[in-house]
C-alpha cells in the first residue's frame, strides 16, 4: 500500500528530516517536508496527505503541539493520522500539568521517540495508515456513523 501514499513531515531539523525521508522513500512512500509549523499547515491545507509525521519541539517551544491543536479543530484535517516524533517524551508532560503523561493531541495519533529505528518507524506508519483505511471503510459502509 506504500506506492501512491503521500506523507508529510513537519520538523525544523533538516538533517533529521533527510534521514526520515530516506527511510520512508526507501519503502516507496511519497514524502514531502515542511520545516516549520506554518509551512506545514499550509501544505496540509493545500494538498492531500495520508499521514503526518510531526515534530513537537519546533521554533520557540512546543509549536508542534499548537499545530496539532489546530488540526484537531479543523473539520477537514482532524481525521488525518499523526505520528508524533519527539525527542522529549517525558517533557511533553510539562505542557499538560493536569493530564496523564501521554495525552492524545489529535483523535488518532501515535508517538515515537527520536531517534527512531527504521523498522519501528515503518511499522508505526503502516499501522496508522491501515487503521485510517479501516476507519474510512467502516464509515462509508454505514450511512449513519453512530
Amino acid at each position: 500500500m506504500s506506492s501512491g501514499t503521500r506523507l508529510l513531515i513537519i520538523d525544523d531539523d533538516p538533517d533529521f528530516v533527510d534521514a526520515i525521508r530516506s527511510i520512508l522513500e526507501g519503502a516507496q512512500y511519497e514524502v514531502d517536508a515542511a520545516y516549520n509549523p506554518k509551512d506545514g499547515f499550509h501544505a496540509l491545507q493545500s494538498q492531500h496527505y495520508d499521514l503526518l509525521l510531526l515534530d513537537i519541539m519546533m521554533g520557540r517551544g512546543a509549536e508542534g503541539i499548537m499545530l496539532a491543536r489546530k488540526l484537531r479543530k479543523d473539520p477537514k484535517l482532524s481525521q488525518i493520522p499523526v505520528l508524533i516524533i519527539t525527542g522529549i517524551r517525558e517533557q511533553i508532560a510539562f505542557l499538560f500539568p493536569d493530564q496523564p503523561v501521554h495525552p492524545h493531541l489529535v483523535p488518532v495519533d501515535e508517538l515515537v521517540e527520536k531517534p527512531v529505528e527504521p523498522g519501528l518507524l515503518l511499522e508505526r506508519v503502516n499501522a496508522l495508515l491501515q487503521a485510517a483505511e479501516a476507519r474510512k471503510a467502516r464509515s462509508s459502509q454505514r450511512e449513519n456513523p453512530w
Binding site: D13, D15, F16, D18, A19, I20, S22, I23, G26, M57, G61, G87, I88, E90, Q91, A93, F94, P100, V101, H102, H104, D109, E110, L111, K114, P115, V116, E117, P118
Partner: protein, 387 residues
C-alpha cells in the same frame, strides 16, 4: 562601582546625622538622614537604601521596631544599629532581630567608614546570592527543555542518519566497517541515555509518576530487577541471593520507576563487588513498611564519600576506575523512592561492603484500594495508543 551606594542614617541626634554625613562625604556615597523612625521608614521606601544605620534609642517608635519594618519592606537592605548605651545586650537583641552589625557611640570616622564598607559588602553578597538563586531557579525550570532540545536534537539527527547509513551500506561494508558503525551507534545511544537520565534528575516533575501509581508486588519488582542485572552479575561471576517473604507484599507505586531504582542499586552492588562474591537481596515487612535491602561484600564506601553518594554527579573516590559511572544512579533512585513517600539509606564499611535499604509504605488491605491521600489522583491514563 558605577552607581553610588545609598546609605540611610536614622538618629534623633542632629549632631550624629551631621557628622555621619560628613564622614561619608569623601566616598562614593549618597546619604539620606531621618531624625525619627517614622520618617526613616518613609525614606526606606522612597530612597531605597543599601544600608540603614538605626539608632536604637529614639523618642517615639524605637529603633528595634524600625528594624522590623525595614525587613518587611526589603529584606535585602542591610541594617546596622547605632547604640548609645554601648551595652552589648541591646546590640545583641538588635542582631537577633536581624541587624547585621552594630556601631557603639561614640565612634571614630574610621570605625564608621569601616562598618559602612563591611555593610555594603554584605549587601552586595546578599544581592548576588539572590540573583544567583533566581538564576538557578530559572535554569532548573528551563533546563529540561534546553537540554532536551539543544543537546538531544543534534544527537538524534546524527543517530537517525547513522541508522539510514547502516541500512544503505548493509552488505557493502567489511566486517570492520560494520563494527565501527555499530560502535558509533552504541556510543551515541549511551550519550542519549545519559542526557535522558540527567533530565530525569533535574526535572522537577518526577512527582508525575504518582499519577500512574497502582499496587505493585514487591516480590515481582525484585525478581524483575534481578533478572535485569543477571548478565552483569554473570560477567563477574557474582551470585545474587534473594530472600523475600512468601506472602505477597504490595506497595502503592509505579512499577517502572521502582524497578529502575532497584536495578540501579543492584547494579551498583554488582559493580562494586569483587568477582565471585555474593549480593544479597532481602525484603522484610513490618506493620507499616516494607524494607528492601541490597548487601554486597565489595569495596565499600569511605566515610568521607558516604554523605554525598545520593547527590547527583558524585561518583565515589573509592570506586574502581573502570566502574566509575556518571554518578546519577543513586540520585535518581533517591528521587524515585522519595516520590513513593519512601526513604533510601546506606550503611557501609570501607573495604567490607555496603548495604542499601529502601523503605516504602506498605499497602494494606485489598490491593485495589489505594491509600486515601492518593484518592484524588487515581484517574488512570486513557486506554490505548501510546505504550
Amino acid at each position: 562601582m558605577e552607581t553610588k551606594s545609598k546609605i540611610l542614617i536614622v538618629d534623633d541626634e542632629e549632631v550624629v546625622l551631621d557628622s555621619c554625613t560628613r564622614m561619608l562625604e569623601s566616598g562614593n556615597y549618597q546619604v539620606a538622614t531621618a531624625s525619627d523612625a517614622n520618617r526613616g521608614l518613609e525614606l526606606v521606601r522612597e530612597f531605597g537604601p543599601d544600608l540603614v544605620f538605626v539608632d536604637l534609642k529614639m523618642p517615639g517608635k524605637s529603633g528595634l521596631e524600625l528594624l522590623e519594618d525595614v525587613r518587611t519592606v526589603d529584606a535585602t537592605i542591610v541594617p546596622i544599629v547605632i547604640t548609645g548605651y554601648a551595652t552589648v545586650s541591646s546590640a545583641v537583641d538588635a542582631m537577633k532581630k536581624g541587624a547585621y552589625d552594630f556601631l557603639p557611640k561614640p565612634f571614630t570616622p574610621d570605625e564608621f567608614r569601616l562598618i559602612t564598607q563591611r555593610g555594603l559588602e554584605k549587601r552586595k553578597l546578599v544581592l548576588e546570592t539572590l540573583a544567583l538563586r533566581r538564576e538557578k531557579e530559572i535554569l532548573r525550570r528551563n533546563f529540561a527543555a534546553i537540554v532536551s532540545h539543544e543537546l538531544k536534537a543534534p544527537l538524534s539527527a546524527v543517530q537517525q542518519s547513522l541508522y539510514v547509513l547502516a541500512g544503505e551500506l548493509a552488505g557493502h561494508v567489511t566486517e570492520d566497517q560494520e563494527s565501527r558503525l555499530a560502535r558509533m551507534k552504541s556510543r551515541i545511544d549511551g550519550l542519549l541515555k545519559l542526557i535522558q537520565t540527567w533530565l530525569r534528575v533535574i526535572s522537577a516533575d518526577i512527582g508525575k509518576i504518582k499519577e500512574s501509581f497502582r499496587p505493585v508486588s514487591v516480590q515481582l519488582a525484585i525478581s524483575n530487577a534481578i533478572e535485569n542485572v543477571l548478565p552483569l552479575a554473570a560477567r563477574k561471576n557474582i551470585e545474587i541471593v534473594s530472600a523475600v517473604p512468601d506472602r505477597a507484599v504490595c506497595v502503592y507505586g509505579d512499577e517502572g520507576t521502582l524497578g529502575e531504582a532497584l536495578v540501579n542499586i543492584l547494579s551498583n552492588a554488582i559493580k562494586y563487588s569483587h568477582a565471585g562474591s555474593k549480593v544479597l537481596v532481602a525484603a522484610e515487612e513490618t506493620e507499616a513498611r516494607v524494607s528492601i535491602s541490597v548487601s554486597d561484600k565489595g569495596v565499600g564506601i569511605s566515610q568521607e564519600d558516604l554523605p554525598f553518594i545520593f547527590d547527583g554527579f558524585y561518583s565515589g573516590k573509592s570506586a574502581p576506575d573502570a566502574e566509575r559511572g556518571c554518578g546519577l544512579g543513586l540520585a535518581i533512585s533517591r528521587r524515585i523512592i522519595e516520590a513513593h513517600n519512601g526513604t533510601i539509606s546506606v550503611e557501609s564499611e570501607f573495604g567490607e561492603g555496603s548495604t542499601f535499604v529502601i523503605r516504602l509504605p506498605r499497602l494494606e488491605g485489598a490491593p485495589q484500594t489505594p491509600p486515601s491521600e492518593n484518592a484524588g489522583i487515581r484517574e488512570e491514563a486513557p486506554k490505548g495508543g501510546l505504550e
